[in-house]
């Protein structure tokens, strides 16, 4: 199972969040690229208060910074039981906004 990120056909850079041009060489040569989604959960935090009432029913939520092996960092929801510092795999939940979730590496998807 792979994840799809924005990549540059000219210089090979990957980027997140998505941009209008390549962040590194500025080429207009972006296309979707497949990556493993493997990385490390650097750190996580527990959201108890949201700025938007629409999230009230979901709290508390655990979010974290995942540092992908390809060098990018992504803010993601963090599955229960994960420990800061451990290896994780990102998966993307389909929807109007495709949300990232970090899960245990072994579990796959």
């Amino acid at each position: 199972m792979t994840i799809t990120l924005q990549g540059c056909a000219q210089c090979g850079a990957r980027q997140y969040p998505p941009r209008a041009l390549c962040r590194a060489c500025l080429a207009d040569a972006l296309r979707p690229v497949e990556e493993t989604g493997e990385g490390r959960l650097i750190v996580s935090a527990i959201v108890h208060r949201s700025l938007e009432p629409g999230f009230a029913g979901d709290l508390p939520l655990r979010i974290g910074t995942v540092h992908l092996d390809c060098g990018l960092r992504i803010i993601a929801f963090v599955d229960a039981g994960l420990v800061d510092g451990q290896s994780v795999r990102l998966r993307q939940e389909a929807g109007a906004v495709a949300l990232w979730h970090a899960g245990a590496l072994e579990a796959g998807v």
């Binding site: 650097i42 935090a45 910074t65």
Partner: protein, 389 residues
């Protein structure tokens, strides 16, 4: 080419428009009030102001140019600084160069914002494309979410504890006592209260977070000669730095642009951090105060917790930090929060404090940090100011 000195430039008339928790008035009122008060403090007419530098988050579609019409001004130089926490030092730097080069004679630098219950959530919602697409869907934690991650990472990496950050919050609250502009200044905060506060985004709890409010901060930049002619106590700029998006490849921020430029800052100033009588830093969260202690050279990277265990940040201590109480005690009046370090530094070194003064303060460092467009603030700036009677 080396950074050119800021010779001949004076900073005068530290001005604060009293903060309030909520305001029905538009940001334009706060800008205009600050302008009214800052020229009154300097004893000059509005027509003498020929440069205007503004920062605000709540003026809607308006920027500096609209304010010239709003207040019947015809300046020959304007600047707009949508850079929040760094905007005060950035305004100072730009105004100083304009005065040195003759592009303006008297520049009013103003940070002002209004606040109502809806405005803060609205501001966060529309803050940047990246935060809207890549942070907001994750529970809309706002800046609290990103700085909780920065704080948790800092704690794990360097062994800092909540009590260490509590030392920052409680010493700033002690400094706020006697400052009538500090909205929380009359509320005592001790370590037990700090530790017992409700969680916002763990590890951040209530007293790690600033309270949004309305208010304004302002100062004038003019030639030293003019300041002396007006008989105004003033400060000169001994050195100044600015940096944006430093260390952008680091997965979680443990340092920011000051670390890249502090050698230049102190080389310009001709003195080191040990010479500072007070330090006015941007304090959106205690971890950022800790980061500035390190990145501005007051202690080594990762050693702020140790530093805090042995040094008080109170006005009576060896290194007074955020002598007005900072935003953690005054409230965060939007972009005015980015002007507070400059204005409070100017107050301390010219003997015009709202609250207590660091005895004999002459040299101050003012620092800014702004714009969390994704997972950290991008803009950093700092200036060393020296008071002249």
């Amino acid at each position: 080419m080396a950074v050119q000195p800021f010779d001949g430039v004076a900073v005068v008339a530290p001005t604060t428009v009293r903060y309030v928790r909520h305001s029905d008035k538009p940001a334009h009122w706060w800008v205009g009030r600050a302008l009214h008060d800052v020229i009154a403090a300097a004893g000059i007419a509005k027509e003498e102001v020929d440069g205007l530098a503004l920062s605000s988050f709540t003026m809607g579609p308006d920027t500096t140019i609209a304010m010239t019409e709003h207040f019947d001004m015809a300046p020959r130089w304007i600047e707009w600084l949508p850079t929040g926490g760094a905007s005060g030092v950035m305004a100072l730097r730009r105004a100083a160069r304009a005065v040195q080069m003759g592009d303006a004679s008297v520049v009013a630098c103003i940070g002002a914002d209004t606040a109502n219950p809806a405005s803060f959530a609205e501001l966060v919602r529309n803050f940047s494309h990246f935060s809207d697409s890549a942070v907001r869907p994750y529970g809309a934690p706002g800046p609290n979410g990103m700085f909780a991650l920065i704080t948790a990472n800092y704690m794990a990496r360097f062994g800092a504890t909540r009590a260490d950050f509590g030392a920052i919050a409680t010493s700033q609250r002690a400094n706020a006592a006697g400052n009538p502009n500090a909205l929380l200044g009359s509320k005592v905060l001790n370590l037990e209260q700090y530790l017992a506060a409700p969680a916002i985004v763990e590890p951040l709890h209530l007293f790690d977070c600033v309270m949004p409010c309305a208010g304004a901060e302002a100062f004038l930049v003019m030639s030293e000669e003019r300041a002396r002619g007006l008989g105004l106590p003033h400060a000169v700029i001994r050195g100044s730095i600015e940096r944006h998006n430093a260390y952008f490849d680091e997965p979680v921020a443990v340092r920011a642009g000051w670390a890249m430029d502090r050698d230049s800052l102190y080389a310009q100033a001709g003195v080191g951090p040990e010479a500072m009588d007070c330090l006015e830093v941007y304090d959106d969260y205690p971890v950022i105060v800790a980061m500035q202690l390190e990145d501005l050279g007051f202690c080594a990277k990762g050693e702020a917790a140790q530093f805090l265990r042995h040094n008080s940040l109170t006005i009576e201590g060896a290194l007074p930090v955020n002598t007005s109480g900072g935003q953690l005690s005054c409230g965060q009046a939007g972009a005015a929060g980015g002007f507070l370090p400059v204005v409070e530094a100017l107050r301390q070194i010219t003997g015009q404090t709202l609250g207590r003064r660091v005895a004999g303060a002459r040299l101050a460092l003012a620092s800014g940090y702004g714009m969390v467009t994704y997972d950290r603030c991008l803009a950093t700036a700092a200036a060393v100011l020296e008071g002249r009677a």
